[in-house]
């Protein structure tokens, strides 16, 4: 269906254009002048001459619509401008930092997935059993325990008390704890969906029929309900994947990982306009991409949609 595909593509482009417009409007509406903030942050006098010089340097002295047009043109041709704060090209920064956030985010989701199956099956079979309780506790805990609090505790335990890892470790080892924390926060929602799907199946007539015919409950549940539950799981997974871009800032900060999240927080404080604009567009594009992948997965998993 090429026509449908073209329509989809156009729709996505329209949304991204809206996002770029909104990004520009929202970011520029923020109070405080980045030039003043930047001067004050380093103990320099924010006199009008120096502020004006910085504005000229950063191209902030033009009319806003002109600024938007110029920025969008540059953005589309791959020139994402430079960060006010670091002076480095923003595209390079993103390219360097995105992998870090993705490793932490997707690594965490992957580890969570490993635990989801057994926990959810156990909870679906025995709604008051230990698996169900663990799951409930994990869900609530993940909602309520601040990630940096957990991060600091784990760091203190493994690095200060046991001295088995380095607080500031280099290399792959430094990703282990952040990934575990992300897995912990993602586990609850994923397992709940999977469990709800399985539970729904276990109440269905066809499942009872299968049991009446003497099928083993585990096998029957997996055979009959697995696909259905996985469908729900894939939807929840895409939901979790949505915040991988920028949502892992906490752990990045606690563990000193140079990801997108830390960059974002710094940039908000310093009103680094072009970084924030680029981030909003990238995050919107990421959401769209995830939704697109999700739709594909749904078509694969859900026979009714084929």
């Amino acid at each position: 269906m090429p026509r449908a595909a073209i329509a989809e593509g156009l729709r996505a482009l329209l949304l991204l254009w809206l996002a770029s417009l909104a990004a520009f409007a929202v970011v520029r509406a923020m109070p405080a002048d980045p030039a003043v903030l930047s001067l004050v942050a380093f103990g320099q006098a924010a006199d009008p001459d120096t502020v004006a010089a910085l504005h000229r340097e950063w191209g902030l002295d033009q009319a806003l619509p002109l600024q938007y047009a110029a920025w969008l043109g540059d953005f589309l041709t791959g020139d994402w401008r430079r960060s006010f704060k670091t002076g480095a090209p923003i595209l390079d920064e993103f390219a360097k930092r995105l992998p870090v956030s993705l490793i932490v985010g997707f690594g965490g989701l992957f580890v969570a997935l490993l635990a989801v199956g057994p926990l959810a099956r156990g909870a679906a079979k025995r709604p008051n059993g230990w698996a169900a309780r663990v799951l409930d506790a994990a869900t609530l805990g993940a909602q309520a325990i601040p990630a940096f609090w957990l991060g600091c505790l784990l760091l203190w335990f493994f690095a200060v008390e046991l001295r088995v890892i380095d607080v500031l470790g280099e290399g792959p080892a430094r990703y282990v704890l952040p990934i575990l924390i992300v897995a912990f926060t993602g586990l609850g929602p994923l397992a709940q969906v999977y469990r709800a799907g399985l539970a729904e199946v276990s109440r269905a007539d066809y499942f009872r029929t299968a049991l009446a015919k003497g099928a083993d409950p585990d096998t029957a549940l997996e055979a009959q309900g697995g696909r259905y539950a996985r469908l729900g799981l894939s939807a929840a997974l895409t939901a979790e994947a949505g915040w991988v871009v920028g949502g892992t800032a906490v752990v990045e900060v606690v563990f000193g990982l140079p990801g997108l999240g830390t960059f974002l927080v710094d940039s908000i404080a310093m009103r680094d306009y072009f970084v924030l604009q680029a981030y909003i567009v990238v995050a919107a594009a990421w959401m769209l991409a995830i939704a697109f992948v999700a739709a594909g997965a749904r078509h694969l998993l859900d026979p009714r949609l084929r």
Partner: protein, 491 residues
């Protein structure tokens, strides 16, 4: 099943190998790290100077005095200045720092960096001989030494891709936002006595403390006071605290009620219990005036706290306390907004304590936190504002008085106008000898105390945590020079 194997592999990856403690460079953990190795970009000059990589022509010594550094001297010559360099200076790449190289550096800084132009515009530069350079600023400059000590004018040599500087350390490996590996600069005096250093950027105060505890950080710069009790319980660590050259104060807008009345201003000055502020900030010293006590020209006696005296002043000014303790005058309540800003977390912490002090004697205080306080101060859209500043950035006390208290200054946020103060500042311009200058400054302080346009609060303290290897480190009273030539590591 294969999942379990994966999990086991992941667990194995946890065990990291500790580096050899003997050859390990000293690790410095701090919240800021330069964004660039080119001192002409943005504020990189400031950070590189703090990292011990870049130097300026003049510098500020531990007592806060401006002293020659790369320059031997500077002398006025009509509208221009003649800068004379010390002999045999070299950049970290081994090339000579002579007047020609100095001209190239200043040319590039003022061309690339608007912050440098803010100091001296685009100056005319002439090489007089190998060691002397004539500099003619675009507009008149009063204190040339302090301008030449400013970070945008850090001296460097740029070869089109890399900048070489003159500090005791030079960069080996740079991971932006993460770490900077340094080695001793081989062209700097007594290179052999200095250790290699790695600076790690650690944004979170709690993580910094953990890094020090786990033995990975040797110098933890600017620890959060809240983490100190636990660190002090560890025998292998040394915590050194130093009052810094910053001063916390409250600026009062003398054009607005209630601070258009000097008695109300004096009452505020007397009502604030500074020991409570220090308790809230977990350390510090009561202010004696504009200058922290590290400066030789600071006033001696701490600001007084006397709530009863303050209440008497308010009574005299006609602000009578009602049944609920709230003071009124002509049907108006004694109230104001205290503005502060989040870039200095301490100020946000002490604001509610100040409010408590003042509400006890009949004020009503609203706290407002604003991200960009400067424009509000410029426009005088405030009642009272908390403010932190480096009290003598150029090592001379006259500068801040000129900036903040001269009636004609653009940055006189309090709209303070006092003929005696202006006259005293005029006289100060003629005084050269340091002791006489100090005496004159103290005299000006007394004039200002009487009018109380500014309420001086406290000098903050910074805490540096040190491992055994770095125990000899002596903190500097500012963050401008975290790493210096005197850095040594004990075995």
């Amino acid at each position: 099943m294969q999942f379990r194997i994966l999990a086991a592999a992941a667990a194995l990856a946890l065990t990291a190998v500790p580096a050899d403690a003997q050859t390990r460079p000293l690790v410095v953990g701090q919240g800021f790290l330069t964004d660039s190795l080119d001192p002409a970009q943005g504020v990189a000059g400031w950070a590189l100077q703090s990292h011990g990589v870049a130097e300026t022509l003049f510098t500020v010594d531990r007592e806060g005095r401006i002293v020659p550094n790369l320059a031997e001297s500077v002398r006025r010559d009509g509208e221009s200045f003649i800068i004379r360099l010390k002999p045999d200076l070299k950049f970290a790449d081994g090339s000579l720092l002579d007047a020609t190289a100095l001209k190239a550096s200043l040319d590039r800084a003022t061309k690339e960096n608007p912050r440098a132009r803010g100091q001296i515009g685009t100056p005319a530069l002439d090489v007089l001989n190998a060691r002397e350079l004539r500099l003619r600023p675009e507009r008149p400059v009063a204190a040339i030494e302090s301008v030449l000590a400013e970070f945008p004018l850090a001296i460097h040599k740029f070869d089109g891709t890399n900048a070489s500087m003159t500090g005791p350390f030079r960069a080996v490996e740079f991971k932006r936002g993460e770490s900077l590996r340094l080695e001793p600069n081989p062209f700097y005096r007594d290179v052999a006595s200095r250790p290699a250093v790695t600076i790690r950027r650690i944004g979170d105060a709690q993580t910094l403390a953990l890094g020090l505890e786990s033995g990975e950080v040797d110098i933890a710069f600017n620890l959060a006071p809240e983490t100190l009790p636990r660190l002090k319980r560890r025998p292998e660590l040394t915590i050194k605290s130093t009052p810094v050259a910053y001063q916390y104060m409250a600026l009062l807008n003398t054009q607005r009620a209630p601070f258009d009345d000097v008695k109300v201003r004096q009452a505020v000055d007397l009502a604030i219990d500074r020991s409570m502020l220090i308790a809230a900030a977990n350390g510090g010293e009561t202010a004696t005036g504009m200058f922290p006590r590290v400066f030789p020209f600071a006033s001696e006696s701490p600001r007084k706290h006397d709530a009863r005296e303050a209440e008497k002043l308010l009574d005299d000014a006609g602000w009578k306390a009602g049944a609920n303790g709230q003071r009124m005058k002509d049907g108006r309540a004694l109230e104001f907004t205290l503005t502060t800003y989040p870039q200095r977390p301490d100020l946000v912490t002490i604001a509610p304590v100040i409010r408590a002090s003042l509400e006890r004697i009949g004020f009503r205080v609203r706290i407002e936190v604003t991200e960009a306080i400067s424009p509000q101060l410029q426009a005088k859209r405030y009642d009272a504002a908390l403010w932190a500043m480096h009290a003598a950035p150029g090592g001379d006390g006259a500068f801040v008085f000129e900036q903040y208290l001269r009636s004609t200054s653009a940055t006189n946020f309090m709209s303070f106008a006092s003929a005696p103060v202006d006259a005293a500042l005029d006289r100060l311009r003629e005084i050269d000898a340091a002791p006489a200058r100090a005496a004159a400054l103290k005299g000006i302080e007394q004039l200002v105390f009487a009018q109380a346009p500014v309420v001086y609060l406290m000098t903050p303290v910074w805490h540096v945590g040190l491992s055994k290897r770095a125990a000899s480190y002596v903190p500097y009273p500012s963050d401008y020079y975290v790493l210096r030539a005197d850095l040594r590591a004990s075995p």
